[in-house]
């Protein structure tokens, strides 16, 4: 009887404290992750795009750290919710960021997966995206209608491992918009 009672209490505690997974309303779906090289290591800038089907405007969070993991940790201390990388569709890599270690970390990451599209930026990725009005929507449109589709994280990593370099489309600012420049090979 005591065991049943304690079991019931434990169940109630579990249910009432909500310590079961992460609730969707506390989640910020990151759609674009911009990675730049800074003095301490890496700076991540996450764009959520419009949340709640247009009801809440998108948010932009930044975090810095000497590795991708620490930068992500720093990123997650910002904002009103947990920035989840589960639905990241675009990865924009700034000047000077070593591509292979970054992609390897993302592919093996618990959340990130390998389907996000890769873009390169001459200069700081965060600055290029900051100039755009709706970077998420614009990047997704560029991916769909901008000619040959850019490689995703996995394609990029495979190419890097086989050939030592990968051709990535360069993202260029165009006023409040973004355009696609030519491909640039690099490692």
């Amino acid at each position: 009887m005591k065991r049943v009672l304690w079991g019931g209490v434990a169940l109630c505690v579990l249910l009432l404290t909500g310590c079961a997974g992460r609730e969707p309303e506390n989640t910020i779906l990151v759609r674009i992750l911009a990675v730049d090289r800074v003095e301490v290591g890496l700076r991540l800038t996450a764009y959520s795009g419009v949340q709640d089907l247009g009801k809440t405007p998108g948010v932009c969070l930044t975090g810095e750290g000497d590795t991708l993991e620490t930068a992500l940790k720093a990123l997650r201390t910002k904002g009103n919710g947990y920035p989840a990388l589960t639905h990241m569709t675009q990865l924009v890599v700034g000047e000077g960021v070593p591509l292979q270690p970054l992609l390897e970390s993302l592919v093996t990451g618990r959340e990130t997966g390998y389907s996000a599209t890769l873009w390169r930026v001459s200069g700081a990725a965060a600055e290029v995206l900051a100039g755009a009005k709706t970077p998420v929507e614009r990047l997704e449109a560029l991916e769909k209608n901008g000619g040959v589709p850019p490689p995703n994280i996995l394609d990029g990593l495979v190419s890097l491992k086989r050939e030592g370099q990968v051709a990535l489309p360069v993202l260029l600012p165009a006023g409040e918009d973004l355009t696609r420049g030519g491909d640039r090979r690099g490692g």
Binding site: L15, A20, G21, R22, E23, P24, T27, L29, D52, T86
Partner: protein, 457 residues
């Protein structure tokens, strides 16, 4: 009692039909001149030889058997100076007439169903199975009720070991009263450690007879308008008589659909909880955004929301069952539509949860057996809680536990997971899930250990 010179007549009021007593017993006794002239002893012999208009007149020499027969609806004639009495069957036949089966309707099939009278039920079976090999063995169960319970099987087909086991189980039942289905089920099979029903039952005599022809053993009890088929196997709970009436292709698709619906009713709420809270990457971005939008301002966790809705669904269903049909329907509409919509608008639950739970609930109604659907509902709660605590990993572990539990069940020596687990790797002839054309099913299910396996050329 008749005239002073006549033998005293005893009946149990309410168990006999007065007209029969008057016409078959009292009238010949008062009007037959021969009977009026002879002594009591001679009258006894004449009555036994047919002086009464009654179909049967039998001797009785003990008080116990006389009382038992009177309770069954006989009248007792006692002759002073004689050690024997005479029993004449004048039982009342007040009983519910045979009607269409309420719980197992058939669009194309017989429209009769079992009733509370055991004799009517055995006659319904006899009308269909005319073979002399159909055997009916009767036992009385219940110290106070002495309820007649019949075991039915076809000699030469059914496994006699199962018959003997069932007979033994029935003989061992030592209870005061056998009045409800549960009192028979719980003593006939040991189902105390499972929520799953171990005895498939049917209201339909045609389905009952199909079961007997498959090699199963039937059980009919007086007072219960259902027939049980032993042994209980998983496949038996998913069959309906309609499957054979439909074209085999339609029946095959319906069969697949039924099993899919079981998966939906069991796993949908759990997978929703696990996917939303633990594995959002499973959900497409647009849908995830929609779920996030719907979840804003809802005060409860996703797990709690799902449990509230599952509980509300159970409450509505239970309330609907306890009310008369017309009110029950109104209440279901009120509960399902009005309260559901209001709960979503009041941000008590999110619409996605409502949809997931409603789909799971509706899918559960495709299971033909109500007891089996009830067991699935219990496990649905458990899976949802597991999903909320440990995500998909916990769901998979709980599903494995369910499979483990089912694999450990058996009735009368036959595995509960038949036809999926007890065929020793051989192909099940006929249909486990997908029905094949009936002419191609030449043999009976081997797991039932039938004496004669071939059922057609």
């Amino acid at each position: 009692m008749a005239t002073p010179k006549s033998p005293p007549l005893f009946t149990v009021v309410g168990m006999v039909k007065s007209e029969r007593v008057n016409d078959y017993v009292l009238r010949p006794m008062s009007q037959d001149e021969t009977l009026a002239r002879v002594s009591m002893g001679e009258a006894y012999d004449l009555m036994l030889a047919g002086a009464l208009y009654n179909l049967t007149a039998t001797r009785v020499s003990t008080v116990d058997s006389a009382v038992a027969a009177m309770i069954e609806g006989s009248c007792l004639l006692l002759f002073p100076g004689m050690a024997e009495g005479l029993l004449c069957s004048v039982a009342t036949e007040e009983k519910r007439s045979v009607t269409a089966p309420q719980n197992e309707p058939a669009a194309k099939g017989a429209m009769d169903s079992f009733v509370e009278s055991l004799r009517t039920n055995t006659s319904l079976v006899r009308r269909r199975l005319r073979a002399p090999t159909l055997k009916i063995k009767e036992q009385a169960v219940g110290r106070q009720t002495k309820t007649p319970v019949d075991l039915l099987y076809i000699e030469g087909i059914a496994d006699l070991k199962i018959v003997r086991q069932a007979e033994k189980r029935l003989a061992e039942i030592d209870i005061d009263a056998l009045l409800t289905a549960g009192e028979l089920e719980q003593y006939l099979v040991d189902g105390s450690k499972t929520a799953f029903p171990l005895l498939p039952y049917t209201q339909r005599p045609d389905r009952f007879c199909t079961g007997l022809c498959e090699g199963r053993v039937g059980v009919l009890a007086d007072g219960l308008p259902i027939g049980y088929l032993l042994p209980g196997t998983l496949g038996a709970f998913f069959k309906t008589e309609q499957d054979k009436s439909d074209g085999w292709m339609v029946a095959a698709v319906t069969g697949i659909l039924r099993y899919l619906c079981v998966l939906v009713t069991l796993f949908l709420p759990a997978i929703y909880v696990a996917a939303v809270t633990f594995s959002p990457e499973m959900i497409p971005t647009r849908l995830m955004l929609s779920i996030i939008a719907a979840k804003q301002n809802v005060p409860f966790s996703t797990l709690f929301e799902v449990l509230i809705m599952l509980a509300a669904f159970e409450v509505l269903q239970e309330a609907g069952l306890r009310l008369p049909a017309s009110i029950g329907q109104t209440m279901s509409i009120l509960g399902g539509l009005v309260v559901g919509t209001a709960a979503v608008e009041a941000k008590i639950v999110s619409p996605a949860v409502l949809i997931a739970v409603a789909l799971a609930g509706i899918a559960g109604y495709t299971v033909p057996n109500r007891d089996f659907a009830g067991a699935l509902r219990l496990w649905r709660f458990l899976l949802a809680v597991a999903a909320g605590v440990g995500g998909l990993t916990a769901v998979v572990l709980t599903a494995a536990a369910l499979l483990f539990h089912l694999a450990g069940l058996e009735t009368f020596g036959v595995s509960y997971l038949t036809p999926f687990a007890a065929n020793a790797g051989s192909q099940v002839e006929g249909h486990a899930v997908v029905q094949t054309p009936l002419p191609s099913v030449k043999y009976r299910d081997p797991t039932l250990n039938t004496e004669n396996r071939r059922k057609q050329r």
